[in-house]
Amino acid sequence: MFDILPHLVNGLTLGLLFALIALGFMLIVGLMEQINLAHGSLFALGAYVAMQLTGPRPPLPAELAKLWLALPLGWRYAATLVIAPVIVSLVGILIEFCMRRTYGKDPLYGLLLTFGAAMVIEELIRLVWGTRDYVLQVPSAVNGGFLFGDLIWSTYRFYAAGIAAGIIGLVWLLIEKTSFGATVKAGAHDSEIVRALGINLSRLRLLVFVFGTMLAAIAGIIVAPIWGIRPHMGVDAVIPAFLVIVLGGVGSFWGAVVAGLLVGLCVGLAGAYASEWSLLSMYILLVAVVTFRARGLWGKKSVLEV
C-alpha cells in the first residue's frame, strides 16, 4: 500500500509541470480564441535563451559579461527567470503582429500561421545553437537529491513543482482579481461591446499574447533541467499542452490545472505499474473524457468546436 505513495507524489509534481506548460497555451486559446501551435517553440526558446544567459558565454559586451559572470549562479539564474521571458516575448510580439490579419476569420488561418512560426523558430534555434544538446545550470540549492522515506528524491523536481504552483496562483489572481483580467475576459466574451466601451482591443490582444508567450518561456526554463535542451523539445511540450487544455475544457483555468494534475498522476502511476503504457495513458484518458464530454471537464463552446 505504502509503495504507491511515492508514485502519487511523483504524479502530482509532474502534473503541476504539465499544468504550467499548458497555462500560456490555455490563456491564448481561451481568451483570444487562437490555437497557438508556436507555444512549444516559444517554450524551447525560453530554455535556450536562459541557457545562453546563465552559461559561460553570455551575449554581452566583454566588460558587462565579466560583471555578469562575477555574480553567483543563484543571482544570475534568478535574473534569467525574468530576463529570458522578456526577450522571448519580443518574438511573441512579432507573431501577434502577423496574426492580426487572421482575427475574426476562420481559426484555420491562425492555426497555420502559428504552425509556420513554430517551424521558423525551431529552424532558427538549429541555426543559432546547432543540433547538440545543452544543460541549463541551476543553483546548487535546488540541485541534487534528498532522502525521504528511504528513497532519494530530486530536489529540483519539488522546486519546479513549487514554482509551477506559485505561477499558477499568480496567473489566477491576475485573471480573476484584477481589472485587467476582467477586461481580457470581457474581450474574449464579446469583443464588440468591449471596443464600444473605448477599450483598445488590439492592445489587449497583444498583451494577452505576450503574457502567454512569457508563460511558455518560463515553463521552458523550469522544465529544461529535467528534459534537457534540444531543438525539438518544443514538440514534446506542445502535445501535452494541447491535451491538457482539451481535457480540462477550453477556456477553463481550473480545468487546465486539474487536467494537468490528472495527466501527471496518470503518467506517473502508469510509469510505475504498467510502464509501457505511461505515455499512452494520457491519450487514453483524453479519449475517455472526450467520449462522454466533448467540451472537456469544465469546457464551454469554443474555437475548437467552430
Binding site: D3, P6, H7, N10, G11, T13, L14, G130, T131, R132, D133, Y134, V135, N143, G144, G145, L151, I152, W153, S154, Y156, R157, P225, I226, W227, G228, R230, H232, D236, V267, G268, L269, A270, G271, A272, S275, E276, S278, L279, L280
Partner: protein, 414 residues
C-alpha cells in the same frame, strides 16, 4: 559541400540528367538514409559526417573504377515509414544502387525490406538490434555496429560475478530495446543472475522519475539499460541529479557518442562502444585529425563510434567495389562476405571479419566508464576492457538469419 549540392541538385533535377551519365564515366550514386530529426537526429548527422569523409577520400584519389561517387541524402526522421519512403524514392526515382545509413533498428528494418525487394545493397551503419543480423537479416544488408548481444556478452558475466545477481532491465519499447534486453536477460541468467523486473520505456519519454522510484523500491544490484537517443540523454540527466549513479550499478548496453556530447557530467555506469578517439592505436590520431579537418564547423569536435561506423562501412564498400572490379550487386556482396580487416586498418585491438552467415561485422567490443582524469574536454571515456570478436559473437544469430540464395537476388548494376 559540393557533393551535397550535387546530390541535392540531382534530387530536384530532371530525370533525363541521370541518363546522360550513361555515355561516359557515370558516377556511382549512393543513397544516404541518415536521420536529421527525431530521436536519432544528432546521431544520424554524425553518421553522415563519417560516410561523407570516406566518399570524399575516394573521390580525391579519382573515385572507384575511375568513376566519381555522388550521393543524395534525405532525412528519414527516425521513423520507419519515412525510412521506407526515402529508400523507395532513392532506388526507383533517384537511381541509387546502394543505400547507406541508419541508427534506429525499426528504420533500418524498413529500409532493408525495400532494399531486398530491389536487390540494392544496404549498409546498415549504426543500428545495433540483434535482430538486424538475426531474424531481420538480408542477403543485401551488411550490419556494421556491434549489437546488443555483443555488448551484453562483453559485460554481463563479469558484472554478475563482481557486482551482484539481482538485475533490473530498463528497456526502450521498440525492437532494439526488446532484442537487446532479451540478450542481456539470457546472459544474466546464464551467469547465475536473476531479472527481477523489466520496465518498458515508451520512446520519447522525457521524465524517468517514476522508473527511478521503482528501481529504488526494488533495490536491484544492477540496472541494465537499453535506452537510446534523446531518451538516454534525459535519463542520464535525471540519474545524475539524484546521484543514483553509484548504487545500483548501471550497465548501459551501448553509448553512442552524439548522445554523450553536451552533457558529459551525467555519463554514468559502464557502457559499450566499438571505438574511441583516444585509443592508443596506430592511425587513430591521424584519423581524428583528418575528420576534424573535414568537419571544422560541426557541433561535435571529434569523431565517435557513430561517425567511425559510417566511415568504415563506406570505406569497405568502396574497397569491395574496387576488388570486385564491378558494380554488380552480387559481386560486391560476395566481396563483402569474405571481408577481413586487420586490427591496424580498423584502428581496433583485434582483427575484424564479416560473418558470411549473418552479414554482421565481427569486431572488438570495448567497455568504458566516465573518465575521472580527462586529458582534455573531449576525453570523456576511460576504456576498461576490450573483448575479441569471437568472445563477443552473437551465437544465436546464425540460427535466426536465413539469407536468400544469390540467384533470388534481383540484379543491380550502377
Amino acid at each position: 559541400m559540393a557533393s551535397v549540392i550535387g546530390g541535392t541538385g540531382s534530387f530536384f533535377g530532371p530525370w533525363k540528367e541521370n541518363h546522360a551519365w550513361a555515355q561516359g564515366a557515370k558516377p556511382i550514386k549512393l543513397g544516404l538514409t541518415c536521420d536529421a530529426s527525431g530521436q536519432y537526429g544528432n546521431s544520424g548527422q554524425d553518421d553522415f559526417r563519417g560516410i561523407k569523409m570516406a566518399i570524399d577520400e575516394f573521390n580525391a584519389k579519382g573515385g572507384v573504377l575511375g568513376r566519381q561517387i555522388t550521393f543524395i541524402t534525405a532525412d528519414t526522421e527516425t521513423t520507419p515509414a519515412t525510412g521506407s519512403r526515402v529508400a523507395e524514392r532513392f532506388i526507383t526515382r533517384e537511381d541509387c544502387t546502394i543505400l547507406i545509413g541508419a541508427l534506429h533498428s525499426g528504420v533500418a528494418n524498413a529500409i532493408t525490406q525495400v532494399a531486398s525487394k530491389y536487390g540494392v545493397i544496404y549498409m546498415n551503419t549504426n543500428s545495433s538490434a540483434p535482430s538486424e543480423a538475426g531474424e531481420n537479416c538480408s542477403r543485401v544488408k551488411f550490419v556494421w555496429d556491434g549489437n546488443g548481444t555483443n555488448f551484453s556478452k562483453a559485460s554481463v558475466k563479469n558484472a554478475v560475478d563482481s557486482i551482484g545477481k539481482t538485475w533490473m532491465l530498463l528497456t526502450n519499447d521498440y525492437v532494439w530495446g526488446h532484442t537487446t534486453s532479451a540478450a542481456t536477460k539470457a546472459q544474466v541468467e546464464a551467469a547465475g543472475g536473476k531479472i527481477v523486473d523489466n520496465l518498458l520505456v515508451p520512446q520519447n519519454t522525457r521524465d524517468f522519475t517514476a522508473y527511478l522510484l521503482k528501481i529504488q523500491q526494488a533495490k536491484p544490484d544492477v540496472v541494465a539499460t537499453a535506452i537510446g537517443g534523446d531518451d538516454i540523454k534525459a535519463l542520464r540527466e535525471q540519474v545524475a541529479q539524484l546521484k543514483l549513479d553509484g548504487k545500483p550499478a548501471w550497465i548501459n548496453n551501448q553509448q553512442d557518442w552524439p548522445d554523450v556530447w553536451g552533457a558529459p557530467d551525467s555519463l554514468f555506469g559502464v557502457f559499450g562502444t566499438t571505438w574511441y578517439h583516444k585509443l592508443q592505436l596506430p592511425g587513430v590520431a591521424d584519423f581524428v585529425r583528418k575528420w576534424q579537418a573535414a568537419n571544422k564547423d560541426g557541433p561535435i569536435p571529434v569523431p565517435g563510434n557513430v561517425s567511425y561506423n559510417g566511415y568504415m562501412s563506406t570505406r569497405e564498400l568502396l574497397r569491395a567495389i574496387e576488388r570486385a572490379g564491378s558494380t554488380n550487386n552480387v559481386k560486391i556482396i560476395k566481396e563483402l562476405e569474405n571481408l577481413k580487416v586487420s586490427a591496424t586498418d580498423r584502428m581496433q585491438h583485434f582483427d575484424a571479419y564479416m560473418d558470411p552467415m549473418t552479414h554482421q561485422m565481427q569486431q572488438t567490443i570495448y567497455l568504458a566508464r566516465r573518465n575521472a582524469k580527462p586529458a582534455d574536454n573531449t576525453d570523456l571515456y576511460e576504456i576498461i576492457s576490450w573483448t575479441e570478436p569471437k568472445s563477443a559473437a552473437d551465437d544465436a544469430a546464425p540460427g535466426k538469419c536465413k539469407l536468400a540464395p544469390y540467384e533470388q537476388v534481383p540484379t543491380v548494376d550502377s
